[in-house]
């Protein structure tokens, strides 16, 4: 009964993380469409939520990477395996909420991987860490992808400006505004493909560590469906404060720049998902936004804000790892078993509600372009 209860807590916590991931990343997906006026906030967010859901069913390569290539599920088995996964998830959720509270678009994906690696290190040391998977499939692609999105968006916008040069701005802006519906849709699809799979991977990792699934198993349909639903609901709930930061504070965009940054982000994320690289969609999309800004003029990018975002990125892995390790320590102090996760879950729910109330009292966040 204890094992089943912890498994249920882990699955619910993973889906809660998925919800916060969608909530946190709404900005990445819809900010450019909203800030250029290609879509109203409500339409853009509803459209993104539906395509997030659909995107989760396209591929399972990233889920496979998270389930078996970052930590070894067989090495976790028996060593309070479910508590390790639970602690990692709480570490990731905590960091997501902290960065949401301060309006910083940090990486939900790196928070998740950092949390899981931190709790695994605290539980069984370095032996369970799959170094080749962590470095080769997470860290190196994680560094390359935003740089690639930056360069591709810069090149794409330069080509676009050359092609539409000397044309009347009215029809051109209308054309790019309509095209942004397609590029925004592709970006939402790509986001669902890469990010929903991370939660599928974590639940699959827990099911393998628990012995419910055999090592190397694909995620069952109910896992795919529930992860897709959770991220879509989170996206629909939105994150207005972060939308403002991403959509208007990094650069002021025209419709062509919005299209180029979304197209570059979607292409890079989808190609990476195909090869099972669990990217930070936040890093890639912000890389694309900065690339499309710098191609116009260097001063178009507000480097101070961009610097704050980079700082949040750098802090994410170690901070989430530290919280994950600390949470695992608390479950050990609570005697292992279900007691720790139940207490931590109850305290977390209270803290999350308090955070939302405090945030609401500070004033409702304003949508981009409306402030």
């Amino acid at each position: 009964m204890d094992a089943h209860l912890i498994l249920i807590i882990v699955v619910v916590t993973a889906l809660a993380f998925d919800f916060t991931n969608g909530f946190h990343d709404t900005a990445n997906v819809v900010a450019t469409s909203i800030s250029t006026g290609a879509a109203s906030p409500k339409v853009a967010i509803a459209f993104a939520a539906v395509l997030n859901f659909v995107g989760a069913f396209i591929s399972i390569q990233v889920a496979a990477t998270i389930a078996s290539d970052v930590v070894n599920p067989e090495a976790l088995a028996g060593a309070d395996a479910l508590n390790v996964v639970f602690a990692g998830l709480v570490g990731a959720i905590s960091w997501n909420l902290i960065t949401w509270y301060y309006g910083l678009p940090s990486s939900s994906s790196h928070a998740l991987i950092g949390g899981i690696v931190g709790s695994t290190l605290a539980a069984v040391g370095t032996g369970a860490i799959e170094l080749d998977g962590l470095v080769g499939k997470v860290l190196v692609p994680g560094v390359i992808a935003p740089i690639l999105a930056f360069l591709v968006a810069a090149l794409a916008i330069s080509i676009s400006y050359r092609i539409v040069n000397n044309l009347r701005p009215g029809p051109v802006n209308r054309g790019y505004r309509v095209s942004q519906i397609a590029s925004g849709g592709l970006l939402a699809l790509a986001h669902g493909t890469n990010d929903a799979q991370k939660t599928m991977g974590v639940i699959t990792l827990a099911l393998i560590a628990d012995g419910t699934l055999a090592a190397g198993s694909d995620p069952p349909f109910w896992v795919i469906f529930s992860a897709a639903s959770a991220i879509a609901l989170g996206t629909y709930s939105g994150g207005w404060k972060i939308i403002k930061t991403t959509g208007t504070k990094i650069i002021k965009m025209d419709t062509a720049q919005g299209f180029a940054s979304q197209g570059a982000g979607a292409a890079v994320i989808m190609a990476s998902s195909h090869f099972g690289f669990p990217l930070s969609t936040t890093h890639v999309i912000n890389g694309g936004i900065m690339g499309s800004g710098i191609a116009k003029r260097l001063s178009a990018v507000r480097w101070g804000v961009a610097g704050n975002i980079v700082t949040a990125w750098l802090l994410t892995l170690p901070a989430a790892a530290a919280i994950g390790a600390a949470i695992y320590g608390i479950t050990v102090l609570a005697g292992g078993g279900t007691v720790g996760p139940v207490i931590i879950s109850a305290v977390s729910v209270v803290l999350i509600i308090a955070t939302f109330i405090r945030r609401a009292r500070r004033g409702a966040p304003v949508a981009a372009g409306h402030s």
Partner: protein, 81 residues
């Protein structure tokens, strides 16, 4: 001694980089050509130069179809591994 070269599957990584870069540049170029075609159609039709107007519109239509085909092909490739 573990080195970065042995930890990373460079072939997969380069394929991913090439696929992302090429598809993004192609998509943006084709869409921009399509927008140029439709914008030129408006200009030419206002000037009464209908042959050039319809030619530009055809370019816009072809670019729209190519864009749609690229998106469908990309999703098809992902779904089919």
């Amino acid at each position: 001694m573990i080195s970065l070269a042995t930890l990373v599957n460079w072939s997969e990584l380069l394929q991913s980089v090439a696929a992302g870069a090429i598809s993004a540049i192609l998509l943006t170029t084709v869409v921009s050509l399509g927008i140029r075609g439709t914008a030129k159609y408006v200009d030419y039709s206002q000037d009464g130069r209908m042959f050039l107007a319809y030619s530009s519109l055809a370019v816009g239509g072809i670019c729209f179809m190519v864009t749609l085909a690229m998106i469908i092909l990309g999703i098809f490739l992902m779904v089919n591994g």
